[in-house]
Symmetry: C2
Subunit: 560 residues, 2 copies
């Protein structure tokens, strides 16, 4: 534990992303048949770190960790829930957005990671609406400002109370000299298709837009008088619920607390171990194959619950990535390894593929997909090493195409057989990137036959030469070169500027089509990161620092 | 002049973008029938500003201003040129990229604007290849490093000399802790479709890749032995030239020196006047309608040459935008106005539209398109004011859809009639944005009938109410509110953080599909801007500052 906390770089203490409803301070989930209400009532006295109060339903990373957990539980624990209404437990204020004082005192790294995580959670909300039959609506029973409106934008239907006061707004530019950085700008013009000049007006009006004009400008879908608000929200939620294909008569599975144990330089989860190398500025994530054969069918999967290997490994990888991102900023290289019996993984993949229409199997595949996306946008170099004893098969083979480079031993290091990799059906459509393509489609953008050739190899054990020939790995050093090559690779990578690597990787990872998600992580986040560095926002006399002090920021007027 | 130079913000002295071959110090154009050779031989003793030498064909803004001029002249002055070979006049070095010492001593603003201009010039090269029948090839007779390789990437065919030494490389990340920011990362994975893991390797290998491997990785199209290089280049150029639809038997028109006169707070061009308001942090660009009727046909257009109004106004607007961008950084708001007889503009538009297949008319339309794109990516707020006496018709009406907001007077201010605007055929396909859509298509992304409705209005004089009803303007204040509204608007805008506005506008302006160009200006440039602010690159101990001193940069290892 000691080594971990010493290496913490953010402004907040070591963050734990595991939580459960009994521990929530800010959110409650109320379930009424097919409709859930997710109610935000932030406890202003429970900030994640000292130094600010969470007034007016403003949020920090702690509030968002609960939201993320609640969204996950609604998917897995409540198959019967087909529509989710996000609303506020505070009168007249839906949500005031990210806490400004918190942003003002946070390190650059924490601001960037905070925005990335909130973005991922909002993308997960859209993912539930679009792919899980669990449609989110925003019941704006008060003003939705900044990040509050951005949260609402992540739902599919926005209802604003018409009480003469409640407005939606993105006041970041006029008030704080930063961007609405949680997808707001992108979703306004690209998802809701607000006309760009009206979007410009909207984003510079501190007090926001309300009433009929908010509907005319497409900022919300409807306004409803206070007297009819609850009734209309319920009606609309039931309407969306009626379109869902989720089952009525099934039990969910409980997301029991994720097991994790920390020792010096090692974190252990079921089926996953993280080893921390502070000297080498790297962390190794080793994922282990199932320790028993795949169950016989969906009933058995449901009995296993969180112990079901694909779900267990998704949860472990998800937590490990978040932990490394927030708590281990100096470990710039993530090394992916695997170990165990790859044949078992192929059997699990086949089971998932055969039952992809089952609600739970669908959830598990979507969760694996979201977790791999989290790896894609992680601002660390990612390498995969394919060594003897490894099991890069199917869903784990997809990690070979997620990382920046992969190295596969051509031959033996000891008496174990040379490593092999293996593709399964899951590599061809179940695990899409933010750009909407599979990782193999992205990889082979320049090679028309690449994907078709790879498809023909499904089920085959591919040694290093076969994997090289199929374009599935980057390099295949032999046993004489292996150790040196790996050592030099890691030393070299650790010698480069962390910032330059982050920018380079962010630009190389997402070739091909663009989507709302890639725009948010690519364009919007990069601009936000830039602004978070600019003295006009983050300097001692910047707007973000001075907010609430009564002092007015003084801007350098030079346009860049 | 005095006020202008006092307000210069970049590290360089006041930049003039007008030049001509007789004044070139770094480039020569050699024309041999349908093939031109554009030869780079940078004079190391002629940097744009003191403090660095332009060794090894490295470039600064001065070198790129000449390149831009040369590219323009090849299009307009040489209809017979159908292929352009970019090559080097220095043995063993094609181009070493942007001068590093220059970057090290430049202000953040200059670095950003320098990259933007070089990006625009490379996009113009691609535009010539794709739309003008003038295909660019790169004859890499020596190493192409960094920006040198990025210049080559902007051509359609890369030929690398196979002499055992010549390589292509993007060494920015390992060497300088910045990104290849002139489109390199994007073009590698999205244009040339280099596999992303190979791209990762390529971008971290200082010495680059040469020979067969460069072809296998798709980094170049072929390698050619020294003995056959010139012959093969010519052969390939002729091959591309044979596909061109440019005429053999026409004269070009000479791009005579653009007339410009500067007085205190005013710059005058033919048909365009810029008024500078340092106190209000704005500049007004007033564009004037033609002072005579449209000529009768293409022969007359060719006789008029640069005096032909659409070409004259494109040249003036182009220069004015570049001047304001580089030399007037504190003028954060650009106001677009027009004056004169709109009926004449409609006639010019009709003439262009009727002759769009003529090589020169095509060039003029493409130039107008590129100039409007330059406005789109200008990091200033842009407003248009439609007042009595204005002529927002056709190509000038497109500016109403390019700006962040437009205000149109509803009624009269004096005895002149209320203003009207008018659409022409040119608003529906001739002036596309970087996203590939027309400005009206982008504007009406959320309104299925918007473009079709607008099309029905072609030729009609639309008053403020009609323009509002059609969604063509943002606001239509009446004469009682006009002055106050405009004053408050400008004051408000000038009170916001320049950086936040830049980021906001960059995110709102390009809704809809993404292209190579939008990726370069959106994602890549934003990341580059961020990195240009990071201490690891630009700090006193950053790699960019220390390059060439023998000292090694010390990096903050925190990943963000």
């Amino acid at each position: 534990m000691h080594a971990l906390s010493e290496n913490t770089g953010g402004s907040a203490p070591w963050l734990d992303f595991r939580t459960e409803p009994a521990k929530y301070r800010h959110w409650t989930t109320e379930i009424d048949g097919p409709v859930a209400r997710l109610v935000m009532a932030v406890d202003e006295d429970s900030p994640q770190a000292p130094g600010y109060e969470l007034k007016l339903n403003s949020y920090d990373i702690g509030v968002d960790i609960e939201l993320y957990d609640a969204v996950q539980r609604l998917r897995f624990e409540h198959p019967e829930v087909k529509a989710v209404v996000v609303t506020s437990g505070i009168d007249t204020m839906f949500c005031a957005g990210a806490n400004i004082r918190m942003l003002g005192i946070s390190s650059h790294a924490h601001k960037v990671n905070f925005c990335k995580f909130t973005n991922e959670t909002r993308n997960a909300i859209e993912d539930a609406s679009r792919h899980s039959g669990q449609t989110y609506l925003a019941a704006l029973n008060g003003t939705a400002a900044g990040g509050g409106y951005e949260l609402a934008l992540a739902t599919e239907y926005l209802m604003l109370i018409d009480d003469g006061n409640a407005a939606v707004s993105l006041p970041e530019v006029p008030l704080l000299a930063v961007l609405p950085g949680t997808g707001g700008l992108t979703r306004v013009v690209d998802k809701r298709k607000v006309r760009r000049d009206l979007a410009d007006v909207f984003c510079t009006v501190e007090e926001g837009i309300k009433g009929k004009r908010a509907v005319q400008w497409r900022l919300v879908d409807e306004t409803v008088p206070r007297s009819k608000f609850d009734e209309r929200v319920k009606e609309k939620a039931l309407e969306f619920a009626a379109e869902s294909d989720r089952p009525d008569d099934e039990q969910g599975i409980e997301l029991e607390r994720l097991q994790r144990s920390e020792e010096e330089n090692e974190i252990r989860y079921p089926f996953l171990t993280v080893t921390l190398d502070y000297e080498g500025h790297s962390a190794t994530i080793e994922m282990q194959a199932p320790d028993e054969d795949a169950p016989s069918g969906v009933d058995e999967i449901k009995k296993q619950g969180v112990a079901f290997w694909p779900l267990a490994i998704a949860r472990a990888l998800d937590d490990a990535l978040l932990h490394l991102r927030f708590n281990e900023p100096t470990l710039g290289t993530l090394i992916i390894k695997t170990s165990g019996d790859g044949a078992r993984i192929a059997a699990y993949d086949a089971l998932l593929d055969a039952n992809r229409d089952d609600w739970l199997v669908r959830e598990i595949l979507l969760y694996l997909q979201r977790t791999c996306k989290r790896l894609d946008v992680t601002s660390r170099t990612t390498f995969a090493f394919v060594e003897p004893g490894s099991c890069f098969v199917g869903m784990l083979a997809d990690l070979l195409f997620a990382v920046d480079r992969s190295y596969m031993l051509d031959g033996q290091l000891d008496d174990r057989p040379p490593p092999v990799i293996q593709l399964t059906e899951l590599n061809f459509g179940s695990l899409r990137m933010a750009n909407g393509l599979t990782r193999l489609e992205t990889r082979f953008l320049g090679d028309e036959d690449g994907v078709a050739n790879a498809r023909k190899l499904i089920g085959e054990e591919l040694d290093a030469q076969a994997a090289m020939d199929a374009g599935l790995i980057t390099y295949a050093p032999d046993n004489i070169d292996w150790d040196d090559e790996i050592r030099l690779l890691l030393e070299e990578r650790a010698s480069f500027s962390p910032d330059a690597l982050t920018g380079m990787e962010a630009n190389l990872r997402f070739a091909g089509p663009e989507t709302l998600e890639t725009k948010i992580f690519g364009r919007l986040s990069a601009w936000q990161n830039w602004i978070f560095q600019r003295p006009n926002a983050a300097g001692e006399a910047g707007a973000l620092k001075l907010y609430g002090t009564g002092k007015r920021a003084k801007y350098d007027r030079g346009r860049v």
